[in-house]
């Protein structure tokens, strides 16, 4: 399995719910889904987006499970020392989910605008508009 798929999927769900256990469960489902449909390689990045966004809508219906044997679901992500998750949390809870999704895919997971447009079935202009608007909202939540 290509490692970047695993990281991309894990980070997508972590930033989507900020719950490591839930994001682990969802990541397993998505990876299984991608593997079953043979979309695991880099040539299917638009398909990754389709699968990710499909499962993002189902997060509420999943039962979270711990990913390590100790039953502790923390420590799965290595955050920079001065990074404050508070701004993202506010952004996640108060902004348009489509803007959050666009910022996450474009600026954090480094999908190209074309890949996102294809994956979300929207135009490239719409993707840029959502990213720009999302970033302005996010910037408004950052204390300086």
């Amino acid at each position: 399995m290509v490692p970047s798929v695993v990281d991309t999927v894990a980070k997508f769900f972590y930033f989507s719910c900020l719950d490591e256990a839930l994001s682990f469960t969802a990541s397993l489902r998505v990876l299984s889904d991608l593997r079953a449909n043979n979309h695991i390689d880099e040539n299917h990045r638009s398909q990754w987006i389709r699968t990710l966004t499909k499962w993002r809508g189902r997060l509420g219906a999943l039962n979270s499970k711990s990913w390590n044997v100790e039953g502790d679901s923390r420590g799965g992500f290595e955050l920079p020392p001065d990074f404050d998750m508070g701004a993202w949390m506010t952004f996640l809870s108060s902004s348009d989910p489509r803007e959050v999704e666009a910022v996450l895919l474009s600026r954090i997971l480094s999908f190209t605008d074309e890949e996102i447009a294809k994956g979300l079935n929207v135009s490239v202009g719409t993707v840029r508009y959502r990213v720009g608007r999302g970033l302005r909202h996010l910037g408004g939540f950052i204390e300086f």
Binding site: P3, W67, N68, F77, R107, I108, R133, L135, L138
Partner: protein, 302 residues
């Protein structure tokens, strides 16, 4: 350039994705619009933040957990297999699995569930369809009219006439449909077709010499492989003028028994629904032998 348009183009302006002409127009506008400058600052702060967010790494442990995930039950089974194989009991997990599977089958009895579904279908007036799909003769299916008001399976009667076996017209009775079977012409195949699962044959015969006839009938039943069923002995004397026979008989010997009984008089058999399902090739029969001189009224079986 308007403030709205400026804000719409801010993202591409910051990324440097605009044409040189648009870039200079934006420069001029932003220089004179404090609101747009504030929006641009927010956007730049947002960009700085997501750059840091993008540097978040998935830990090696989580990465491995996602790559090599196994359900808990699988892990336990593997650990158990390893543990037992180290002690030379390699088959132990499989033995327990087999036992569990067998126990599950024994408790759930899926074959009985299937049977009950067939019974429910029959009770829902889909009997003709069920019978046709089970390979019963069309004549029999027609006799069991689905428009019968009773939700239960209608009875099927056979009239075995003494010595001569000729076809007779069906009676007009609405409760039951009488069918005289010409067994010689239909052959043994149809007989086996009539051996319905969950049915019993009920018949009665009036004999002239009760005291000597009923023991002969009992002997014949026993010689044909008849085995007592129910709670009373074969040929139980319900009263001095009525002998009760409740027995199972190989389907292949039924015709011979009917032939034998018909030498004593006219016997009427009816097929009734019964919760007990007989094994393949066996038929359950209740026969009342009555004194033909007194003609007593029938009573309920024990």
């Amino acid at each position: 350039m308007t403030r709205f348009l400026c804000q719409e183009l801010l993202y591409e302006y910051v990324r440097g994705a605009l044409t040189a002409e648009r870039q200079s127009v934006m420069d001029q506008f932003i220089g004179g619009c404090s609101e747009s400058r504030r929006e641009m600052e927010k956007l730049q702060r947002g960009l700085g933040y997501v750059e840091k967010a993008a540097s978040i790494q998935v830990s090696q442990d989580l990465h491995q957990a996602l790559l090599n995930f196994e359900p808990v039950w699988k892990k336990r089974l593997r650990a158990w297999s390893l543990w037992s194989s180290q002690r030379g009991w390699r088959m132990l997990p499989y033995f327990f699995l087999l036992v569990a599977l067998g126990l599950g089958l024994w408790v759930t009895k899926p074959w009985e569930q299937q049977l009950s579904q067939v019974q429910i279908l029959a009770e829902q007036a889909k009997l003709p369809t069920v019978l046709r799909s089970s390979g019963y003769p069309e004549a029999f299916v027609t006799v069991l009219n689905p428009s019968t008001p009773s939700p239960l399976l209608p009875k099927k009667n056979f009239l075995v006439q003494p010595q001569t076996r000729t076809e007779a017209p069906a009676s007009d009775s609405q409760e039951s449909h009488t069918l005289v079977q010409n067994e010689k012409s239909e052959g043994a195949t149809n007989q086996s077709d009539r051996a319905l699962k969950g049915f019993l044959m009920r018949g009665e015969i009036f004999v002239n010499d009760f005291a000597s006839d009923w023991p002969k009938i009992r002997e014949k039943i026993q010689s044909l492989g008849g085995k007592v069923a129910g709670h009373v002995p074969l040929g139980w004397l319900r009263n001095p003028k009525n002998a009760y026979f409740h027995f199972s008989l190989p389907q292949s010997n039924r015709a011979e028994l009917e032939n034998f009984i018909s030498t004593f008089g006219q016997v009427r058999f009816s097929e009734e629904e019964h919760p007990r399902v007989m094994p393949q090739g066996q038929v359950r029969i209740i026969l009342s032998v009555k004194d033909g001189v007194t003609h007593e009224t029938p009573s309920a079986a024990p």
